[in-house]
């Protein structure tokens, strides 16, 4: 039995869109990290799905594994950085953290 994966693809797109929208809107650093996590979950599903569609199941899954590892490290370090930022600047409000202003 073969199916056309409409639902899965749609899910991936919607969740990715939610993650991106949050990145554009939010002002809290922790929410940024949460949005990154949501993005990566959508990415993982997309990778495994693509692996199945193309017939290279193993490749898709191994890449998804790599993505999990990378994303976890990103979350860990981002949270540690957020804690340090709070200690140094006293706030995690993005509109106050503008040292890169040109």
């Amino acid at each position: 039995m073969t199916t056309i994966p409409y639902i899965d693809m749609l899910t991936v797109m919607i969740v990715f869109g939610i993650g991106l929208y949050t990145l554009l809107i939010t002002r809290n650093l922790i929410k940024v990290v949460i949005a990154l996590q949501i993005l990566v979950k959508a990415g993982m599903i997309a990778l495994v799905l693509a692996g199945r569609i193309n017939g290279q199941v193993m490749t898709g899954q191994s890449i998804a594994l790599t993505v999990i590892v990378a994303d976890t490290i990103v979350a860990v370090i981002a949270l540690a950085l957020a804690v340090q930022v709070k200690k140094h600047h006293g706030t995690v409000d993005l509109s106050k953290l503008r040292n890169l202003k040109g």
Binding site: M44, S62, I73
Partner: protein, 160 residues
Amino acid sequence: MLNALIAAGIILCAIQAIRVKKLIAAALWLAGCSALTALMLYLLGAPEIAVIELSVGAGLVTVLFIFAINIIGDETPVRMPAIPPLVAWLLVILSFGTLAYLNLPLLEIEVPTLVTIPMAASSIWEDRALDVILQIVLIFAGVLGIINLISDNSSRESKA
């Protein structure tokens, strides 16, 4: 059918994760999102990935979030966001709309029958050895970075 339910669940959890005001609640919704993603991955035929995602996403990352939020505290900014929500929606929909337009022909494909293929350890090591090495390096780097950041923290506290 099950697919559709889980998909709806993921979307619901994601929306709730970003809408709630208290950060700890957001972290808990994220944990739910991870759990449902793990389920979906299992249904897509990748059980090992599902297990790893469950333990890492719904376990490790959530614990970390709770720790960090406890240290940082819950502040909720009251001002308007920098980019008007409408513009943000427009950008997101535009980018995905164009991507979807490019990918429309792909929707004619059909996915073959699902046969759960467990991922053999040999295939990870043989085909993607470089990947595994990079992941190990990454984990070490992450651990070292965390230790560095935390030790700075405590040494600064002791100085102050």
